[in-house]
């Protein structure tokens, strides 16, 4: 699997939606009925109680990104859509895994978790449940490394993302490539306003 950030097939859409019953079903239903593939999806309330934020990683080989965005925008509860391309986004994900770790391996697993700046969240007789947060590619690496010990259960949250920050010293407007593309300027929340 290619490292995330270099894979051109994936695009991240941050979708601000009304916090109303059935909105996730509308978004998911749109993807299935129009034949678009969701690579990962994360939903949580936003800083404004009226809205939730859905972070969708889409497989853009399944449909042109332009169509996906425009069809999403037609859903009445969708307030705004921001497209983050992999190169210009900070993306994070959380991983929880229960790993076989008998006496002989326990030290090695704990050490590995330490290297990945993770945490041990539960300890059993011959198993450990660990948590690692980070860029998706980092979690892929961790997953590969612990597989040899035996993964009992593993869950990942799906990605959440924010645009990379502007680094120019004078705080001049960033080059267009360094900014998220806001595809709908009717965003009622301050934080989403595009510069």
């Amino acid at each position: 699997m290619p490292a995330f950030g270099t894979d051109k097939r994936h695009h991240t859409l941050t979708v601000l939606v009304e916090n109303k019953a059935g909105v996730l079903a509308r978004v998911a239903g749109l993807f299935s009925r129009r034949g678009y593939n969701i690579y990962s999806l994360a939903v949580a309330p936003s800083d404004d109680a009226r809205f939730s934020r859905i972070t969708i990683v889409v497989d853009v080989e399944s449909a042109p990104l332009e169509q996906v965005v425009k069809q999403l925008d037609k859903l009445v509860p969708v307030v705004s859509i921001t497209e983050l391309d992999p190169v210009n986004a900070r993306e994070r994900e959380l991983l929880l895994a229960t790993i076989e770790a008998g006496e002989a391996e326990r030290g090695q697993v704990i050490q590995l978790v330490g290297v990945f700046e993770g945490k041990i969240v539960d300890v059993g007789a011959d198993r450990l449940t660990v948590m690692v947060a980070g860029a998706p590619a980092k979690l892929d690496d961790f997953e590969d490394l612990v597989r040899g010990y035996g993964i009992v259960e593993l869950q990942r949250t799906g990605r959440v993302a924010l645009p990379k920050l502007d680094r120019s010293a004078a705080r001049m407007p960033a080059s267009p490539g360094g900014r998220p593309r806001v595809l709908d300027d009717h965003d009622p929340t301050q934080s989403e306003k595009a510069g």
């Binding site: 939606v17 009304e18 019953a21 059935g22 079903a25 509308r26 239903g29 749109l30 009925r33 009226r50 042109p64 332009e66 169509q67 425009k70 069809q71 925008d73 037609k74 859903l75 009445v76 509860p77 969708v78 307030v79 705004s80 709908d184 009717h186 009622p188």
Partner: protein, 608 residues
């Protein structure tokens, strides 16, 4: 003022100036049917909920106002799914209210429970499950706003029985009180793109205006006519746009697509500029997309941004209302020096409609020679195609040995009815014959199921159309297969004194399927024979309170139509016995390039 949710719903519909609704009561919607007795709104009691939906569509088609239907939960809601899907495909503004089981029962598989908002999510522009009676006026106002603005479409309000029974304090929301933070239809096109489109239009040597249903939805027929006349660009009108530009206008090429006429199809194939106005590059128009209009620069105007670049990448894509953008385009053309006063917009232009193609592109303007000279070769080419490949059928007396020619029936009907007659069709051969052989000279005179292709649409939709335009003559042109799907609504028409007229082109077959089996399945006819006599359409019509007539020979056609036209107190059904062997031509086979259009056998090489 305290009202029940049910009273609030009816009062909200009155606030929206609803004059008629189509529906059928049942358990979960019972509370709402009580205040209907005291309401100014006319309620038309249908015999099947599908009929209510199609009637509301027919009403919306001809009036431009949203059609309203109300039915109960469960099976009634699922019965109205087809009209919702139909209206979604054809962008018909519809507000459907469904009853729902009480909120305490939702999710428990209660009696007549169905997940109506879930089922209709993909076939409505939006839907609402109301859980608080206090939300009803706001939701109704939002529903009408969403249904009628932007790209029109159907919406659904699902109303649980306990919410209808609950009390609320009446209010009516102002425009600012709608809670639609994610809904912002765009009307104005980008001026830079409009200017670019104007430049392309002026430079084009083989332009075609590809007018779709969006022109009618935007009330843009007058603007379209001015655009065509000032630029000299010929116009094709898609199945959904028949009537948006007069068929008898010299610049009208008629309908393109799978069963479009040769000139309309080939004009698009050879065009150097395609101006798509409110059309969506449907597969029935484009044929094989890769081979569609290969030489054309495409300017695409649509109110739905998602239609732009969906099928064919546009060189200039303009998101906006068709009428608003066309008028902006006319102004831009004026700024670029194209003669013709914008004031002619008000007068509608009074050029004789039978002038030859391209003659005097701009009436009475000295510089009219500008578009005329540049487009002369193009107009000549189009005229040549029109002369060589007109729509034809065998008119010889012996040709009707196997039954009436459907084209002859339609010509007779067309010539014997007022020019502004509303024609409603179902789906199949009769629909294509009607779209080809009728002469549509007025907008909103053609009602049919285009995108979804819903058999059984014609009878209920014609009833809705007649309710919306009681001043007009309304003829449903139906097939025998279609008629059998929804004919029971003629009981509704008789009971409600809605005098629609139905012409059944009875060829005893599912004709279009039969045509495909003949042409593409080696004449292996599978499950397409229906029998001309079972049912007996005349007796069936009479049993439903209509006048029933049967016509078997060409000389009976005219008198029967005259008799039907004279009846204005009840519906009339004419059973025209037509030729089962007649096929619709021209035809672009499914998946083929439009260049491979199959013309009538009499026009093929070697038959001349």
């Amino acid at each position: 003022m305290k009202l029940t949710g049910a009273q609030a719903l009816i009062k909200s519909l009155e606030m929206q100036e609803v004059e008629v609704m189509f529906g059928l009561p049942g358990g979960a919607i019972l509370p709402v049917y009580d205040p209907i007795i005291d309401s100014s709104i006319r309620h038309v009691l249908v015999r099947h909920e599908q009929g209510a939906g199609h009637m509301a569509e027919g009403y919306a088609h001809v009036t431009g106002r949203p059609g309203v239907a109300m039915v109960t939960s469960g099976p009634a809601a699922t019965n109205i799914v087809t009209p919702l899907a139909d209206a979604y495909m054809d962008s018909i503004p519809l507000v459907v209210v469904t009853g729902q089981v009480a909120t305490s029962l939702i999710g428990t598989d209660g009696f007549q429970e169905s997940d109506t908002t879930g089922i209709t999510m993909g076939i409505t522009k939006h839907n609402w499950l109301v859980t608080d009676a206090a939300d009803i006026p706001r939701v109704v106002a939002e529903a009408f706003h969403v249904a009628t603005t932007g790209r029109p479409g159907p919406v659904l309000i699902d109303l649980p029985k306990d919410v209808s029974n609950a009390e609320m304090e009446w209010y009516w929301p102002g425009p600012d009180e709608l809670d639609l933070p994610g809904y912002h239809p765009v009307l104005e096109g980008d001026p830079a793109a409009v200017k670019k489109a104007a430049e392309l239009l002026l430079a084009a040597e083989r332009p075609v205006i590809y007018a779709g249903g969006g022109v009618l939805k935007a009330r843009g027929a007058d603007a379209l006519r001015e655009l065509a006349e000032r630029t000299g660009a010929p116009v094709v009108t898609t199945l959904m746009a028949r009537g948006a530009f007069p068929d008898s206008h010299p610049l009208c090429l008629g309908m393109p697509g799978m069963h479009g006429n040769y000139t309309a199809v080939m004009a698009m194939q050879r065009a150097d500029l395609l101006l798509a106005l409110g059309s969506r590059f449907d597969d029935r128009v484009t044929g094989k997309v890769d081979a569609f209009a290969p030489e054309a620069t495409v300017v695409h105007v649509d109110i739905d941004p998602a239609e732009l670049n969906k099928i064919r990448r546009a060189d200039v894509a303009i998101a906006g209302d068709c009428r608003v953008v066309t008028e902006a385009l006319l102004d831009a053309l004026g700024s670029l020096g194209l003669p013709g006063s914008p004031s002619s917009r008000a007068t509608g232009g009074g050029r004789p409609v039978d002038a030859p193609l391209g003659a005097e592109a701009v009436a009475g303007t000295p510089a009219a020679s500008l578009p005329r000279s540049r487009l002369a070769a193009w107009h000549a080419q189009l005229s040549e195609w029109q002369e060589r490949y007109p729509l034809v059928y065998d008119r010889s007396p012996e040709a009707s040995a196997n039954g009436l020619k459907p084209q002859f029936v339609l010509e007779s009907l067309r010539d014997a009815t007022p020019e502004d007659t509303i024609v409603v069709s179902g789906v199949g051969q009769h629909q294509m014959f009607a779209s080809q052989w009728w002469r549509f000279d007025h907008p909103y005179t053609w009602v049919n199921s285009g995108g979804l292709g819903t058999m059984g649409f014609a009878v209920p939709a014609s009833i809705g159309a007649k309710v919306g335009r009681p001043d007009r003559m309304v003829w449903a042109v139906d097939g025998d297969g279609c008629f059998q799907m929804t004919a029971q609504e003629l009981v509704t028409a008789s009971a409600e004194r809605i005098p629609v007229k139905v012409a059944i082109l009875n060829n005893a077959y599912l004709g279009m399927v039969r045509q495909w089996q003949e042409m593409f399945y080696e004449e292996r006819y599978s499950e397409v024979y229906l029998s001309p006599d079972l049912p007996d359409y005349v007796r069936w019509a009479e049993a439903m309170g209509c006048v029933g007539l049967r016509v078997e020979s060409p000389d009976e056609v005219g008198p029967a139509i005259d008799k039907a036209n004279d009846i204005d107190d009840r519906p009339v059904v004419i059973d025209f016995r037509t030729d089962a062997f007649e096929k619709v031509f021209p035809m672009v086979p499914a998946g083929a390039s439009n260049d491979d259009i199959v013309v009538d056998p009499s026009q093929r090489e070697g038959s001349r």
